[in-house]
């Protein structure tokens, strides 16, 4: 579909918010939560925080919540009744103000959740989502979107991509059919765009490393235990990186209740020491170095090989959230440049 370019002013955006709410949509956007900024339900544009480089958590919570009911069950007269989720009851959602890296991440998540069989809840949530991205005027030292095929103004994954082009006006690139419905429903709010180029309004992010060096380097260093030990020695094995990551999709399943209850899906992290513990007691990844290696292999070797999509969008959240500064960019650069 050919992209249409339009312009929208901030006060018109405010009206668009009201319209979405009137349509019964839920709006998720970056919002101040304590002294952090995270995606949360909002009612007005004023509540939205738009100047930060990045939020702490990613918008993956909209399609892959940190806790999700898969179904509920009740045991009665010797039989178990199962009540599935009603996908129709899931909320129509607009995710507003996410960065191009986050928009691109949904493709990685979809590659996993629709790989061999489509995950019904994930697909339903993604289907009900409209993605209104916001291009980046600023980046920081943790960002590396351009090294992994993205960019501060990249359109992949967004239905509409906004770029601030003046004090109160945004360029709106209408990218998909869903984007077109947004533009049509808010017809009076969008204006025709002049030949506005967005390049001058975007952050400059030089590619931090050569991606085509990473995968072969990972393979070359795979068996060098000392290499991974050196990289991972300060890692504490918490789940912060996996949980803030927009593409990490590992989950645990927990049944709660007794005779009646729920089956819940919740986030898990390959960094946890017992992540790969078998019922037999054997743990194939007993060392943090093996778990760190696995994180990088999964994102930069296994996913490209199996799902033809990278498991990393260069958002830098993991590095910012890491309590011990396991800066993934620093480690990737080291891998790309390591001499055997």
């Amino acid at each position: 579909m050919e992209t249409e370019n339009k312009l929208i002013r901030r006060d018109a955006l405010e009206k668009l918010f009201s319209q979405w709410l009137a349509e019964g949509k839920r709006i998720l956007a970056p919002k101040k939560c304590g002294d952090k900024i995270d995606f949360a339900p909002v009612q007005t544009l004023d509540e939205v925080s738009l100047d930060q480089v990045q939020t702490v958590q990613s918008p993956k919570t909209a399609v892959f919540p940190r806790v999700e009911e898969l179904f509920s069950f009740k045991s009665m007269d010797g039989r178990v009744q199962i009540r599935e989720r009603d996908n129709d009851a899931l909320p129509e959602t607009v995710i507003f103000g996410l960065r191009p890296c986050d928009a691109a991440a949904f493709a990685s998540l979809a590659a996993i959740f629709t790989w061999d069989c489509p995950d019904s809840l994930f697909s339903a949530r993604l289907g009900k989502m409209t993605i209104v991205g916001l291009a980046c005027a600023r980046a920081d030292e943790y960002c590396f979107c351009t090294a992994v095929g993205g960019g501060p103004g990249a359109t992949q994954g967004s239905d509409v991509l906004l770029t601030k082009v003046s004090g109160d006006e945004y360029l709106a690139e209408i990218l998909t059919a869903k984007g077109r419905s947004v533009a049509q429903a808010g017809a009076g709010l969008f204006k025709a765009a002049t030949a506005e180029t967005k390049e001058s309004h975007l952050a400059k992010v030089e590619p931090a490393f050569a991606l085509d060096k990473i995968t072969p380097a990972l393979a070359a260093w795979f068996d060098d235990a000392a290499f991974w030990e050196e990289q991972s020695r300060r890692c504490l094995g918490c789940g912060a990186c996996a949980y803030v990551c927009p593409t990490c999709a590992c989950f645990d399943i927990q049944d709660e209740g007794g005779v009646s209850g729920k089956r819940l899906r919740c986030w898990d992290s390959c960094g946890f020491s017992l992540f790969t513990l078998h019922t037999s007691g054997h743990n194939p990844r007993p060392l943090q170095s093996q778990r760190w290696r696995q994180r990088l292999m999964h994102k930069f070797a296994y996913m490209p090989e199996r799902q033809q999509v990278l498991g990393c969008v260069g958002c830098g959240r993991c590095s910012r959230a890491c309590p011990v500064d396991m800066n993934i960019l620093e480690h990737l650069r080291a891998i790309a440049e390591a001499k055997p």
Binding site: D38, R66, G239, P323
Partner: protein, 267 residues
């Protein structure tokens, strides 16, 4: 800083220790943990006010233990963590020595646990005035205000366990939450699970926490976990006259008792 680097070089060259666990420069110029194993790499060591991580956490990691005896660059809470770990029989004389960098930049080597204990005796283990005031502020809220405050705080908890991972005293190789026969603490990050997790962790640290603050700094969503720990530090001292991390041999608060422990709420 040169004194620290020289000391590190000396210890490594003489093979007194096999690794110096200290601070180096990381992203944005901030300090982060480094593990110096060769004398030639001692130049990576730094020390300033930004060096706040409790490096004692690495003494309990098998990947670090296997390197051999460590010289640990220690700030006050690190020293107290070492003593508490020693009091719980988790570290011994042969596992480490401590290096304290004085405000003047000199290095004091604490070669034995006794030396660490003697040094810690000169520190004030009490909560600071600012910490006490902040605690009082929360204690002064009404019951309902406190309930709402903590419900809101815990609603953001992701159960990433960064708090647990960063804490030197959370060294269980299999945490309560990782046992599923029964699943005592819920895994999912729903409101009930988050409350139970944070209550349990706070209680398991009662009489053990050394107030390093790493749990709060590690938390990606900024939950003020230090308030819970400081509340218990304050209560344990007020009720049992006990402070963690002061002695190698001690009657730990929650594993001992006094026949005259007093209370006014038991009917």
């Amino acid at each position: 800083m040169d004194a620290l680097k020289n000391k590190a070089r000396e210890l490594l060259a003489a093979k007194t220790v096999q690794v110096v666990i200290g601070y180096g420069r990381g992203s944005g110029g901030a300090a982060r943990a480094v593990f110096v194993r060769e004398a030639s790499k001692a130049d990576t060591l730094v020390f300033d006010d930004g060096c706040r991580q409790n490096l004692a956490v690495y003494l309990m990691k098998p990947e670090v233990r296997k390197l051999g005896k460590a010289a640990l660059v220690a700030i006050p809470s690190t020293l107290r963590a070492v003593l508490q770990l020693a009091a719980e029989n988790q570290v011994g004389e042969h596992d480490l020595l401590a290096l304290v960098v004085t405000p003047a930049g000199e290095v004091v080597q604490l070669a034995t646990l006794q030396a660490i204990e003697a040094h810690v005796a000169s520190l004030d283990p009490d909560l600071s005035t600012a910490e006490k005031e902040e605690l009082k502020k929360y204690e002064a809220l009404s019951l309902e205000q406190r309930r709402q405050f903590w419900q809101e705080q815990f609603s953001r908890c992701l159960k990433c366990y960064a708090c647990r991972a960063a804490c030197p005293l959370c060294y269980c190789s299999r945490c309560t939450v990782e046992c599923n026969q029964p699943q005592w603490i819920p895994v999912p990050a729903h409101d009930l699970g988050n409350l139970e997790w944070n209550v349990m962790r706070a209680m398991h640290l009662a009489g053990r926490c050394v107030n390093c603050g790493d749990c709060h700094r590690a938390c990606p969503v900024g939950i003020p976990l230090y308030l819970l720990n400081q509340k218990l530090i304050s209560d344990v001292f007020a009720n049992f006259n006990f402070r963690s991390g002061m002695a190698v041999k001690t009657d730990n608060a929650m594993s001992t008792f006094k026949p005259n422990d007093s209370e006014d709420f038991i009917r």
